[in-house]
């Protein structure tokens, strides 16, 4: 009895947010994460990083396209999707926005981020010479930088708020932690870096950025690992660890950990080499790019494993309470 009093009590029923929501979380995370990475490469990378930056903006747009559809199909009344934005209460009609309800905030953030992702997509098409749209020239100077930064902030929000959405409830696991938003964001970033690595083979000009993408992916994986630990610790404290990490969900967590393995392993080995043989590091680094181009293992299988881990992590969090 004393034990159970120390634990969080939950008598709620689950909201049946399942497959549509899982894939929405997955794709929204990849969209936001790709936008962020693309912006970092454009603003802080070399001139040679521009191709991978554009690739990132393409991914951000394409991954975002199914999102509204998934969310709408998940509704009990899909044709009333617009009620999220417009309150139709008789006598009290007007815009619907509640800053304390992440679903309400998320709807608006998704619309605004969608506009930024579309602009970045068109801009990338123009810069790649696939489209003629003179208006895009406006984005060449400081305005372009401002737009990219605002879009990246929105991208970070889109990738992370889905975890806060789950937490702002009374569900076991979800509401017992503050770490879900960060966890989803970190795994979105590592997943986006992996997805871009995977797509490099279709964009030869971007291959020069492979090293930087690989290092990014490693650091994001480390961040994700830290957040999984924090997530687990908060659940242990609330007494709901067993719900999220018990069988069969443990299998999904194993997949998530497997997705972290390439990044963590790479990080560990690269640190070891840097310590031991400092002058050899550049030679090693440049060989990574060629490696990415050739073996299927590093350029396809490992990034795919990372992406699978990103999906498995969300599945474990979403399905374990259902």
């Amino acid at each position: 009895m004393i034990m159970s009093l120390a634990q969080a009590q939950h008598f709620v029923s689950a909201p049946d947010w399942t497959w549509y929501i899982l894939f929405y979380f997955f794709l929204a995370g990849l969209s936001g994460g790709s936008y962020v990475i693309a912006t970092l490469f454009r603003l802080r990378g070399d001139r040679a990083d521009e191709p991978v930056s554009r690739l990132g903006y393409y991914v951000a747009f394409v991954a975002l396209l199914p999102c509204p559809l998934l969310l709408t199909l998940d509704l009990g009344k899909p044709l009333r999707f617009w009620h999220m934005m417009w309150n139709t209460t008789p006598g009290d009609a007007g815009l619907s926005f509640k800053y304390w309800s992440p679903m309400s905030v998320g709807v608006w953030a998704l619309i605004i981020f969608g506009a930024f992702a579309t602009v970045a997509f068109l801009e990338a098409l123009v810069r790649d010479g696939k489209l003629r749209l003179p208006v895009v020239r406006l984005l060449e100077g400081a305005l372009g930088t401002v737009v990219a930064v605002i879009g990246a902030v929105l991208g970070l929000f889109i990738a992370g708020y889905t975890g806060v959405l789950l937490a702002v409830s009374n569900q076991p696991v979800w509401s017992d932690t503050w770490a879900l938003g960060g966890l989803f964001l970190a795994s979105s970033l590592s997943g986006s870096a992996a997805l871009l690595l995977l797509l490099l083979r279709y964009r030869q000009a971007a291959l020069v950025s492979a090293d930087k993408l690989i290092v990014s992916e490693r650091l994001y994986s480390l961040l994700e690992l830290v957040l999984i630990v924090l997530f687990a610790l908060t659940l242990l404290q609330a007494g709901t660890f067993g719900i999220a990490f018990g069988f069969p969900w443990l299998l999904l967590w194993l997949v998530a950990f497997a997705g972290l393995a390439p990044g963590i392993y790479g990080l560990a080995t690269s640190w070891l080499t840097v310590k031991g043989e400092e002058p050899a590091a550049p030679a090693h680094a440049s060989s990574v790019a060629t490696e990415v181009r050739t073996p299927v293992m590093t350029s396809v299988l490992l990034p795919a494993l990372v992406l699978l881990g990103v999906l498995a992590l969300r599945a474990a969090v979403i399905f374990s309470i259902h």
Partner: protein
């Protein structure tokens, strides 16, 4: 009872000490609200309703406290019966998260889901700490007890309270009900029934429940979160967003480090592939 007047807070006082588990409330509710119901749930005891949901707005809980080996008569403590219902919380978790504004507080201070505004996102289901709401599969919207909104507008008390034969369910203005409940619990304590206690009659639980209870055991025995655990969803906004913000800062930092660390070696090696294209 005096006329039911808009602008005044109405609710239920459900006194579980006199509930006999007849389920007249469930039947009356289903009849009046034309709720179809579903396959019976077969659990322990005499409860085949299973849980409150879109089809069941009243549910009599049967809590089996029968000891395995009986040494005494048990003094009627063997079964706890309680007619569960939406609590119409003053600070309602469902209303808090609802993104469409479908969940409103009516002129009778009850919590009401407008079926023509709800779009079936199910955020309220994730939020309700009492497992009251589910989605009606045919209508595609979330549904729960309306405190017989239509009957109140017609100056009639809710169907369940009308049907209850033992006055376990009492309907009235919340302030009057609270007074009656405090008197009742004092009387029971005077009679030696010390396990009787009120749940939700003061502001400790979600700012006060308009449908509150007299219980014969700990709240958690009836699947009601106790005071420490009765928390609003919005409590997690700050921590959740701060955790996300911290991760965002570290993530951007990580991205910048990745771009800086390899800058020189990559700058040196990029000449080859670029020249090749």
């Amino acid at each position: 009872m005096a006329a039911i007047t808009p602008g005044r807070a109405y609710g239920f006082f459900t006194d579980t000490s006199v509930c006999i588990g007849c389920k007249a409330c469930e039947v009356a509710c289903k009849e009046w609200n034309e709720l179809p119901g579903h396959e019976p749930a077969f659990g322990d005891g005499y409860d085949n309703t299973g849980s409150l949901d879109a089809q069941n707005w009243r549910r009599v809980q049967f809590i089996d406290n029968v000891p395995d080996e009986t040494m005494s008569a048990g003094q009627g403590k063997a079964w706890l019966m309680m007619s569960d219902v939406c609590k119409h919380c003053k600070e309602a978790s469902c209303m808090e998260v609802c993104p469409t504004g479908a969940i409103i507080r009516t002129e009778f201070d009850s919590v009401f889901i407008q079926p023509d505004v709800c779009n079936g996102c199910r955020n309220c289901i994730a939020a309700c700490p009492y497992d009251v709401i589910t989605q009606d599969e045919d209508k595609g919207v979330a549904q729960k007890c309306t405190l017989c909104y239509d009957r109140l507008q017609g100056d009639m008390e809710p169907a369940c309270a009308k049907a209850c034969p033992t006055e376990s369910i009492q309907f009235g203005p919340v302030d009057e009900l609270r007074e009656a409940a405090r008197q009742r619990v004092t009387d029971l304590h005077d009679q030696g029934v010390t396990e009787a206690r009120l749940y939700g009659e003061d502001s400790d639980i979600y700012g006060g429940l308009n449908a509150f209870f007299l219980l014969m055991d700990e709240p958690e025995a009836y699947r009601l979160p106790n005071k420490e655990n009765a928390k609003l969803p919005r409590r997690n906004n700050l921590g959740g967003y701060l955790g996300t913000l911290g991760t965002a800062v570290l993530g951007v930092l990580g991205g910048l480090i990745a771009l800086r660390r390899r800058r020189e070696p990559v700058a040196a090696s990029q000449a080859e592939p670029e020249a090749g294209e």
